[in-house]
C-alpha cells in the first residue's frame, strides 16, 4: 500500500498495538501525534509483531542510520579513531582503529587522509557523533569493508543509490556489465565508487550512472551505449 503523503498529514494508526516508525515519520514529543515529516510515498506494513510505517522519499543530504552501508572519505586522524566525512558539510562521523579486522593495540590500520572507505554505520544517535565500522562485528571478518583503492566516486541522490543497492530488478548495473568489467561499492549516503580496468571505461561508467539518474529505465540501455561509443571513438581518433 503506498499513497502520497505531505508533512503534517493525518495517519491512521492502531493505538493499541506497537508501532515502529521508519524514515520520514516523527512522533511529536509534546502532542504525541504521529505524523509524516517528508513528502513521499507512505508505506505501512502490518505484521503480528506490530505496524511498521515509513515514507519513501528522495533527498540529497544523508543522515546516518544504524546498519547503513556507506562510502566515506577520511578527513582526519586522531589517537584512536579517524574522522570520516559521509557528505560534504555534514557533521563528520568517527571510525575507531579497533573497528577493523584483526585490530589490536599494536596493529593499527594504515589509512591516510583522503582515503576512501566502505563501511557500515554501527551507532547513530542524533545527540551523539555517529560511528562507522570496517568490520562485521558479529564474526570479525572484513565482509568486503575497508579501503577503496583507485576508481572514482559519483555523487547521486539517496533514492537512486538505494535503488541501485537494494532493488534487484533495477537494470542499470546489469546493463553496465554488458559493456565492461567493473568493481562497485554503493553507499546509501549517495556516493558510488566504481573501478574498471581502463580509465576510459571508468569515465563512461561515471557519465552513464550520472545521466541515468532521474531517467526512466527503458532509456538506460541507450544512454550507456552512447557513452561507451563516445569514449571508444575518442581514443580511436
Amino acid at each position: 500500500m503506498s499513497t502520497l503523503v505531505i508533512p503534517g498529514d493525518e495517519i491512521s494508526v492502531d493505538p493499541e498495538r506497537p508501532v515502529v516508525l521508519g524514515p520520514g515519520m516523527y512522533n511529536d514529543p509534546v502532542s504525541q501525534r504521529i505524523i509524516p515529516v517528508n513528502a513521499g510515498l507512505l508505506n505501512i506494513s502490518d505484521s503480528k509483531k506490530g505496524q511498521t510505517i515509513y515514507v519513501d522519499y528522495d533527498s540529497k543530504r544523508y543522515t546516518p542510520a544504524v546498519g547503513d552501508l556507506v562510502v566515506g572519505v577520511i578527513t582526519g586522524a586522531f589517537a584512536d579513531s579517524y574522522r570520516v566525512s559521509l557528505s560534504s558539510f555534514s557533521t563528520p562521523v568517527s571510525l575507531s582503529y579497533m573497528a577493523f579486522p584483526n585490530a589490536s593495540k599494536k596493529n593499527r590500520p594504515t589509512l591516510v587522509i583522503g582515503d576512501l572507505v566502505y563501511a557500515r554505520v554501527c551507532t547513530a544517535e542524533k545527540e551523539l557523533e555517529a560511528e562507522i565500522e570496517c568490520v562485521d562485528s558479529t564474526n570479525g571478518s572484513d565482509a568486503g569493508f575497508g579501503l577503496l583503492e583507485n576508481g572514482m566516486v559519483i555523487d547521486v541522490t539517496l533514492g537512486f543509490a538505494r535503488s541501485l543497492l537494494f532493488n534487484n530488478e533495477f537494470p542499470l548495473l546489469r546493463n553496465l556489465a554488458q559493456h565492461c568489467k567493473f568493481e562497485i561499492a554503493i553507499g546509501v549516503n549517495g556516493k558510488i565508487w566504481i573501478k574498471t580496468d581502463e580509465v576510459k571505461e571508468t569515465i563512461a561508467c561515471y557519465r552513464s550512472i550520472s545521466d541515468c539518474q532521474g531517467q526512466s529505465q527503458e532509456k538506460f540501455q541507450e544512454i550507456i551505449k552512447n557513452h561507451f561509443a563516445q569514449v571508444t571513438n575518442t581514443v580511436e581518433e
Binding site: I6, G8, Y26, P29, I35, N38, D58, R61, T91
Partner: protein, 215 residues
C-alpha cells in the same frame, strides 16, 4: 504561480518560484554542521539570508528575513536535529513591486518558495507554510495576488501565512498588515486568504504528485 523544485545542483533543496512579476530562487542546505556560535544544544539552528534583486541587503531585507524566520521556524521539526544547522538562502530575481514602498509580494514569494525548497531538501517538517498577499482598494474591494499598481493605490495591504496540517489551514502563522483598515477588514482578509491558501495547498499537492510520478 510557477514553481520548479530541484532547480539548483549543489544544494540539498531548491526552488525557482515566480508569481506575476515576482521571481525568487530559494536554496536550502541542511542539516549541516553549524558554526560554533550558531549551535543550539537541543535543536536545529536556522540561518536565513535574503539577497535583493539589485543592490546589497539592507534593513529592509533583515526585516523580511525576520518574518520568514517567524513563519518557517514553527513548521520545522527542530528537535529532530540537535546541534545542526539549516541554511536558507533566498535570491530575488525580480521584486515585482516598488521596493522603496513595499515588501509584501517579496515576503510571500520568499515564504512559499522556502516551503517548496524545504520539502525538496527532505528536512523534517511538521506542516507546510503557505501565504498570500491581499489588498483592500479604496472601494473596499479585496484583491488577492495584487500587482504593483494595486499595491500603490490600495487602502491597506495584508500578508497572511497559514500553517497547513492534514491538508487544512490550521494555524495562523503570520498576518502583516499596513494602511488604513478596521476589524471587519481584518476578519474579511483572514477569511479570503484561507480560501486562497486552500487553493495554494491543492496546487502544492498536485505538484508533489506529478513530481513523484515522474520518478
Amino acid at each position: 504561480m510557477n514553481t520548479r523544485t530541484g532547480y539548483l545542483e549543489n544544494v540539498d533543496g531548491s526552488c525557482l518560484y515566480s508569481l506575476n512579476s515576482t521571481k525568487v530562487i530559494a536554496a536550502v542546505t541542511g542539516p549541516v554542521e553549524p558554526k560554533a556560535r550558531q549551535e543550539l544544544p537541543t535543536q536545529l539552528a536556522l540561518e536565513i539570508n535574503i539577497r535583493p534583486a539589485c543592490g546589497v541587503p539592507t534593513t529592509r531585507e533583515v526585516n523580511i528575513q525576520d518574518k520568514v524566520r517567524a513563519v518557517i521556524t514553527p513548521t520545522l521539526a527542530l528537535y529532530k536535529y540537535p546541534r545542526q544547522l539549516c541554511q536558507i538562502t533566498l535570491q530575488l530575481l525580480q521584486a515585482g513591486e516598488t521596493e522603496s514602498y513595499f515588501h509584501e509580494l517579496e515576503l510571500v514569494a520568499c515564504v512559499n518558495s522556502t516551503t517548496y525548497a524545504l520539502v525538496d531538501s527532505g528536512i523534517a517538517l511538521k506542516g507546510i507554510a503557505l501565504g498570500t498577499t491581499i489588498v483592500i482598494t479604496e472601494g473596499n474591494k479585496l484583491i488577492t495576488e495584487p500587482t504593483d499598481e494595486n499595491l500603490k493605490n490600495a487602502k491597506s495591504t495584508h500578508v497572511v501565512v497559514y500553517m497547513i496540517e492534514n491538508s487544512k489551514p490550521t494555524n495562523l502563522l503570520l498576518m502583516d498588515s499596513y494602511g488604513d483598515f478596521d476589524q471587519n477588514d481584518v476578519f474579511k482578509v483572514l477569511e479570503q486568504s484561507e480560501i486562497k491558501i486552500n487553493e495554494l495547498n491543492k496546487n502544492f499537492r498536485e505538484y508533489m504528485k506529478t513530481k513523484l510520478n515522474n520518478l
